[in-house]
C-alpha cells in the first residue's frame, strides 16, 4: 500500500519537477537581473494584479462615479459634479432633526446602522464568548453541540431571513404558539423596536457559530497549566476568567471584534429579507439605502449611491484602523510585561 502511495506520489510530482526544471534557468537569470527585491515583486505581481483589477480599479471607478450625476451607465455619458453628491448626502438645515436633511433617509440609515453596530456587536461578542466557554467544557455530546451552534452559519442569508420571517410574521409560528397558550400575539415585524431587535437577534443567531468557533480555538490554545496553577492557588473562577482567559483570548477576540464590526456595518441580506427596511425606515441600514438608490429605484441614481458607499467605506476603514491600533497597543503592553 505504501509502495503504491509512493508510486502515485511520484507520478503526480514528476510533471511538477519537470516543470520546475524547465523554468529554473530563466528564473535564475531573472533574479540575477532584478535582484532579490525584484524577484519578490515578480512573485507578488499576479496577486497584486488580481487585487488591482478586482479591488482597486472598481474602487477608483466608484470614486469617479460618486463625482458624477445622471442616470447613464458609462462615465463618459455622465456629468461631472465634483463633491455635489457628498454635499447633498451630508447637508442638513438642522442636524438634530433628520427630516431637515436633503437626504434624510441616508441619515436615518446611518443612525440605524450605528445603533445596530453597537448593540449587535456587543451582544454578539458576549454571546459568542459565553458559547465558546460552554463548548470548551467537558460536555456530553460536545461535538454535537458545536455542530448545532455552527449549523446556521452554513445557511444562505436569504434562507435565514425567510425562516425568521415565517416565524415572526403576523401569522407566523411564534404568534400561533402565543395564541395557542392564550397570549395576545404581537406584530413583531410591524412594531419599530421589535423589528429592530429582531434584526439584531436574527443576525446574531446566523453568525454566532462562526465567531464562537474562532474564540473556541483561542480558548483551546491557552495552556492548561495556567488553570491548574490558578486552581492550586484557590483563585475564584471569575478572577481566572478576567486575569487568565480573557487576556490570553485577546488576539482571537480582536479578530472577532474586527470581523463582527465590519459585518455589522455591512448588514443587508438577512435584515432586508426579514423586514424590508421597515416598519417605515426603522430597519433601513446603509447598504440597503445604497441598494435602493443605486439599483432598486425605478429612476436610479448611481452617483448618489456611489458617494454613500464611499462614505460607508471610509467608516469601515476607520473602524479597522482603530481596531488595529488597539491590537498593537495590546501587543506592546504584553511585551512590556
Amino acid at each position: 500500500m505504501a509502495r503504491l502511495g509512493t508510486k502515485a506520489g511520484a507520478v503526480v510530482t514528476a510533471p511538477l519537477g519537470w516543470l520546475a526544471g524547465l523554468i529554473d534557468a530563466p528564473l535564475r537569470l531573472w533574479q540575477r537581473w532584478t535582484g532579490t527585491n525584484g524577484m519578490a515583486a515578480f512573485f507578488l505581481a499576479p496577486n497584486m494584479a488580481i487585487f488591482g483589477i478586482f479591488v482597486l480599479l472598481p474602487l477608483a471607478f466608484n470614486i469617479a462615479y460618486s463625482m458624477t450625476s445622471g442616470t447613464a451607465l458609462f462615465l463618459r455619458d455622465r456629468d461631472f459634479v465634483g463633491a455635489a453628491q457628498y454635499a447633498r448626502l451630508l447637508s442638513c438645515d438642522d442636524y438634530t432633526n433628520l427630516a431637515t436633511c436633503a437626504e434624510d433617509q441616508f441619515w436615518t440609515a446611518l443612525r440605524n446602522t450605528a445603533l445596530f453596530v453597537v448593540l449587535q456587536v456587543t451582544l454578539l461578542i458576549v454571546t459568542a464568548t459565553i458559547t465558546a466557554l460552554i463548548l470548551n467544557r467537558d460536555l456530553r455530546a460536545r461535538s454535537f453541540w458545536r455542530a448545532v451552534f455552527f449549523f446556521p452559519v452554513l445557511l444562505s442569508p436569504v434562507v435565514v431571513g425567510l425562516i425568521w420571517r415565517w416565524i415572526l410574521d403576523r401569522n407566523g409560528v411564534l404568534n400561533a404558539g402565543l395564541d395557542a397558550v392564550g397570549v395576545e400575539p404581537v406584530n413583531w415585524l410591524l412594531e419599530r423596536h421589535w423589528a429592530f431587535l429582531a434584526a439584531i437577534g436574527v443576525t446574531i443567531w446566523a453568525h454566532l457559530g462562526f465567531y464562537a468557533l474562532i474564540l473556541l480555538a483561542g480558548l483551546q490554545a491557552i495552556p492548561r497549566d495556567l488553570y491548574e496553577a490558578a486552581e492550586m492557588d484557590g483563585t475564584p473562577p471569575a478572577r481566572v476568567f478576567w486575569r487568565i482567559t480573557l487576556p490570553l483570548l485577546m488576539p482571537n477576540m480582536l479578530v472577532v471584534i474586527v470581523l463582527a464590526l465590519i459585518r455589522a456595518v455591512q448588514v443587508f441580506d438577512e435584515a432586508f429579507v426579514l423586514t424590508g427596511g421597515g416598519p417605515g425606515t426603522a430597519t433601513l441600514f446603509l447598504t440597503q439605502y445604497i441598494y435602493e438608490v443605486g439599483f432598486a429605484s425605478l429612476l436610479k441614481n448611481p452617483g448618489l449611491a456611489a458617494a454613500a458607499s464611499i462614505i460607508m467605506g471610509a467608516v469601515l476603514v476607520a473602524l479597522t484602523l482603530l481596531q488595529l491600533a488597539l491590537g498593537r497597543r495590546n501587543e506592546r503592553k504584553a511585551k512590556m510585561k
Partner: protein, 427 residues
Amino acid sequence: MTLRKMTTAGPLAALALGLGLMTSTALAGDVRIMWYSDGVEGEVMKDLVAQFNAANPGINVILDEVAYKVVQEQLPIQLEAGEGPDIARVTNLKTLAKHWLDLTPYLSDPDYWRTNFGTHADWMREDGSQAITGFMTQLTLTGGFANKTLFDQAGVALPGKGATWDDWVNAAAAVQASQGTAAAFAIDRSGHRISGPNVSYGANYIGADGKPAPVDAGVKEFAGKLVAWVADGKMLKDTWVAASGSTYRAAADDFINGAIPFYYSGSWQIANFSTKIGDAFDWVAVGSPCGTAGCSGLAGGAALVAVKYTKNPEEVAKVMEFLSQADIVKEFSERTLFLPAHAGVVAAGGLNWQTKDKNVGPALDVFVASAADILPAAAALPSWKWASAYYGAMANRISQVMAGELTLDDAFGKIDSDIAEQVAAAK
C-alpha cells in the same frame, strides 16, 4: 500523448470551450426573449414559441424566464451597457424607451401594427417619436375585488356602482367587525396603485410644462384617507408599513387567505385568484370606488418590446409579427385570462376564456366596463416619462407617515423634493 502535446491541447480545448460558450449566446438566427410571469403566461408563451420554432427552422427563439425583479433591476443596467436580450417583456415602458428598436423598416405591414396597437404605441416610445417598438401583451386596469362570501356571511351588502372609497371601506370594516378579519381592506404598496384613486379625488401629476406638478389637493386627500385608515386598523398595516423605500408589496395573499374582505389591486390578479382561491370562496371584481372627481382606475400592462442592440433585427421582427397576429393574441389572452390590447381582437369579441371558474368571466367583464371610467389625468400617466418618479416618491413617503416617522405635510414636501431631485438627476 506526450506532456508537450497535453500542455498544448489543454489550453486549446479550454479556448474552444470558451469560444463555444460565447458563440452560443450570439448565433445568427438566435432570438432571446427575456420573459417574466405573473401567472401562467410563461407556459402559454412556451407553447407559442414552440409553434414559431417549428414553423421557422432558420430562427431559434430562446425564452429566458426570469423573475420580475430581474426585469426591473437588471435589464435597465444591461440596456445602458448596450447589451440585453433581443426582445423583453417589460412594464417600465416609457423610462426605457430610448433602448427599444424601431421595427418599422423590418415589418411586412407596419399599418397592421398602427391599426391594432396604435392606441398604446406612445406608451413605449420616446416623446414625439412615431416608432413601432412592440405591442402590449395585455392591458391591465387597477380595480377592487371583494370577498363575496365574507360579505354574505356578515350580512353586509356589497356597495353598488357609484359607491365612494369611504362607502367601500366602511362596508368592509363592518365585515371585519363581524368576521374578525385582520383588516377591512388592503391596497398594494405601490405609487401606481394609488394613482387611480388619487385622480378620482382630482389629482393631476402632470404640470403645464409636462414636468411633475407639485403634490395637489387630490393626492393630499386620498393620502390622508390612507393614513387614517391604517391608524384606525381598517387598512392592513403589513402591506405598506412593513417595508421601506419604494419596495413593491402586494396584498394578494392576504385576500386569497381571507384575511381582508376588500382588496384594491388590478385585473392581472384574476388568473392568480382563480388558481389559488379555487372554490374556497366567491369573489367579485368591483371596479374602482369613486372619489370627488370620478371613479378612475389606472391602465397599464406589460409589453413585448424589441431591443435595439439586437444583432438580428430581421429575425426579431419575424418573431414579433408572429406573436402579434390576431389569432395568437386571442389564444394568449384566452389562456392567460389577460385583457387583450389588440384592437381587432377586442372589436371581434367572442373571447373564450379558458377557465371553469365561474368568478373569472364576470370579473373580466367588470374590468372591461371600468375602462370607460378612466379619467384623462389617469389616462395620460402610462405614457408620461416622470410617472415612475411620482410613484416611487409617494410609496416611500406615505408609508413613512403610516409608520409615524413623518407628518403628512412633511411627507408632501418630501415627495415634491424627491421628485425634483430625480428629475434633476435624470438630466
